[in-house]
């Protein structure tokens, strides 16, 4: 009865798959591929804020970067912020995930509250932190003074070391919930029998943690770490809102320096060449994420 009927779109799996994927493809092309291609073109041009006409500049912008001490400082800071943040995000994310998978009253409320830093727009939360760390009005300093731990304000954003600590702390604060949710997904996927078998064999909490839980969730932890790294590595908002790169560029990162050079300074091409330095590392990170995900699929 249906043998002779004409095939509809719903029957054509290939076409249907493309149709469903089309919005994502358009989105990625318009908001990722086109701006990326534009950034590459700008980096090899002499475009300024007032003159968008494209003239080929070759590698001149990159050469100027290598000769710029601020660029190297920003590159070093970017790596430092990323490495330390990633480590802390993974550790705290794992701890938080362990807490959130446990059964206790009000678990859903706690989960909701824990996720808030991640769901809050980063510009908004960075401004909130700017006030929390203010040199005059900081409530953190006020509390520390009241309980007698400090005498005067700490200048969180004025001392080079505290400035770095503050930036890292805000990154960790906002990205730990994301890591926790990712790790949680891995934790709940571990078959209960394995956990119970280890317990029956007399394995304690730490042994189960390091010999059962962590090995089984390692790919998921890797994904969390890589997401944390990428989101820290590419972020400009936290640094720009908190320190604007800091006096003497003490907390400058590549993203903020690209903005200052390209927009505030007016040399768009130079700014693009600074921003493009992020690309090879982000590409490597993206490949690593995809491989980790693939490994998870295989296992």
């Amino acid at each position: 009865m249906t043998g002779g009927a004409r095939r509809t779109l719903a029957d054509r799996e290939g076409a249907l798959a493309w149709l469903f994927m089309l919005p994502s493809v358009i989105y990625i092309l318009a908001l990722v591929a086109v701006p990326f291609a534009l950034a590459v073109a700008l980096a090899f041009s002499d475009v300024t804020v007032g003159d968008p006409s494209f003239d080929w500049a070759g590698w001149a912008n990159f050469a100027r970067n290598f000769d710029d001490p601020v660029f190297w400082r920003a590159l070093g800071n970017t790596f430092l912020f990323t490495a330390v943040s990633m480590l802390l995000i993974v550790v705290f994310g794992k701890i938080l995930a362990n807490i959130l998978v446990a059964d206790f009253r009000g678990k859903w409320l706690i989960r909701f509250l824990v996720l808030l830093p991640w769901t809050t727009p980063v510009a908004l939360s960075a401004v909130a932190w700017l006030w929390l760390l203010d040199s005059i009005y900081s409530p953190i300093d006020w509390v520390l003074r009241r309980i007698g731990l400090i005498e005067g304000n700490l200048n969180w954003l004025g001392e080079p070391t505290l400035e770095m600590v503050s930036v890292i702390a805000v990154h960790v604060w906002r990205l730990t919930p994301l890591a926790a949710v990712i790790v949680m997904a891995g934790l709940v996927a571990i078959p209960r029998e394995i956990e119970e078998a280890a317990r029956m064999d007399g394995a304690g909490f730490w042994r189960r943690m390091f010999e059962v839980t962590i090995p089984l969730t390692l790919p998921v932890i890797a994904v969390a770490a890589l997401f944390g790294a990428i989101l820290t590595f590419t972020d400009m908002t936290v640094v720009y809102v908190l320190t604007r790169g800091g006096a003497t560029h003490s907390s400058e990162v590549l993203a903020s320096w690209a903005y200052i050079r390209g927009i505030s300074g007016g040399d768009v091409a130079q700014g693009a060449s600074i921003a493009l330095f992020l690309f090879p590392l982000l590409l490597a990170a993206a490949i690593a994420i995809l491989r980790a995900v693939r490994r998870m699929e295989v296992t």
Binding site: V49, N155, T243, G265
Partner: protein
């Protein structure tokens, strides 16, 4: 005719009510006496028939009553001139990115305003020489610092139109400085060091000259350099930063930091010194009058204790940078250039109202436009105690110069300003990351690199 009078009356009343509401909440006392209504807005018909839309992008003024007045003012002009006007006012922090985005996209507003030099935009904007010439014909000679902030002598192009500016006096707490032996505040950079150190020692109240990547730090660094006889460029736009005078200025700032300030100044943004002064935590800052205007409502006792001094005298000169320099540009993508130019002339013609509604924050580039100015400065309509607190601003033109002085505010100067080369030079020495001589040397190298880059594009002489 009668309908126009009614409308004018309505707008005037609405503006007064709005001003009063703003004044009672955020801006200190309401205006009193004859000046309560502000100057009458005048209207001259455009030289050619206008039509269509005009879109304007500008900053949200530090004095909110200006914006409330401006919206009514611009709509009134649009109705009379037959132009449908839309004004978008955004935070000054967001303006650079927004203007850059519109210029790159080749579309957006017809008229763009910023409060600092826009010289980097010269290749992408209309020449406004005809507007400036017309303004000169009507109102006399434009102030030199405004002209140098909008005219490129190499291309002989007015890339921007600067109808007004704001000075950058020293704001000091009289009670603190009186106890330190300076009842009239510091007059020299040496006074600043001695008095500031004494106040910090006695009262633990610090000085407020920033050394961070923000606009007030930029202005403070320049004021110090000029007063010591140094500058980033000369009149011929040749880089001159590396000099004994510059090293002496940096050495001075290191001493000033060590004896009068704390690491707090390295973390500041543009609002920090205002907040510190209003909170009573700073003895002296370099800023416009807006910090004090804010204090008039937020902390009246502190406001009454805040007084002003002109540019401090150094070994060479007594000069300060302008605080705000209004730059209006008409991008090439503008669709209604005629209306934009006519509006600029209308706005400038009414600068007395601009000055008044900005609470004497905005001063005119053509002084003849505001004959009442000295009277207002001697007898502040907005509740200064004493009423002549701002009278020193009568001579502000004599001790204020443009960014890039003694040369013009060219694109290289704009990039040096926008990338904070000079405050970072001061901060490196103050933090001990480099000796003053090395800090000047490194900054000079960076300034030369920037100048060479713009010189290749034909926008900088030398």
């Amino acid at each position: 005719m009668s309908s126009e009078l009614t409308r004018r009356g309505f707008l005037g009343g609405a503006a007064a009510v709005t001003l009063a509401a703003c004044a009672s909440e955020t801006e200190g006392p309401r205006p009193t006496g004859q000046a309560a209504g502000g100057p009458q807005v005048t209207y001259a018909p455009p030289t050619s028939k206008l039509s269509g839309d005009l879109t304007i992008l500008m900053w949200s003024h530090f004095v909110p009553s200006h914006d409330a007045w401006f919206k009514g003012f611009v709509q009134d002009w649009g109705r009379r001139a037959g132009v449908n006007v839309r004004v978008d006012q955004i935070s000054v922090n967001d303006l650079p990115a927004r203007i850059a985005a519109e210029m790159q996209a080749g579309q957006g507003h017809d008229l763009l305003q910023n409060i600092t030099t826009l010289s980097q935009y010269e290749p992408g904007v209309h020449d406004l020489t005809d507007v400036v010439k017309e303004a000169d014909n009507r109102w006399g000679k434009q102030l030199d610092l405004c002209r140098k902030s909008s005219f490129n002598p190499n291309t002989e192009k007015f890339y921007a139109f600067s109808p007004g500016w704001s000075p950058d006096p020293g704001d000091y707490r009289k009670s603190l400085w009186s106890e330190a032996g300076f009842p009239n505040g510091p007059a020299t950079w040496d006074d600043l060091l001695r008095g500031g150190a004494e106040i910090k020692r006695r009262k633990n109240v610090q000085m407020g000259l920033g050394m961070a990547q923000e606009v007030d730090s930029n202005m403070a660094a320049r004021a110090c350099l000029w007063s010591f006889g140094a500058a980033e460029q000369n009149e011929q736009e040749e880089v001159t930063l590396r000099s004994d005078a510059a090293v002496a200025a940096v050495e001075y700032m290191v001493r000033l930091f060590k004896e009068t300030m704390t690491n707090e100044i390295f973390s500041w943004n543009a609002a920090s010194n205002n907040q510190g002064l209003v909170a009573g935590k700073l003895s002296y800052i370099l800023n416009s009058i807006s910090a004090w205007r804010t204090a008039q409502s937020a902390n009246p006792a502190v406001a009454d204790d805040i007084f002003f001094v002109p540019a401090l005298r150094g070994p060479a000169k007594a000069l300060a940078a302008q605080h705000v320099m209004y730059n209006w540009i008409i991008p090439r993508h503008a669709r209604n250039v005629d209306a934009a130019k006519e509006f600029l002339l209308h706005y400038t013609a009414n600068f007395a109202a601009v000055t008044y509604h900005s609470r004497l924050y905005d001063l005119p580039a053509w002084p003849s436009l505001v004959p009442q100015l000295n009277g207002w400065l001697d007898n502040d309509p907005f509740g200064a105690k004493p009423a002549n607190k701002l009278s020193l601003l009568k001579t502000a033109v004599d001790w204020s110069v443009n960014i890039g002085y003694p040369g013009p505010a060219n694109p290289a100067v704009g990039e040096v300003l926008g990338t904070f080369v000079l405050p970072n030079m001061m901060a490196r020495a103050a933090r001990g990351e480099a000796t003053p001589a090395r800090a000047v040397q490194d900054a000079d190298r960076e300034v030369r690199r920037i100048f060479d880059n713009w010189r290749r594009r034909g926008l900088v002489a030398g």
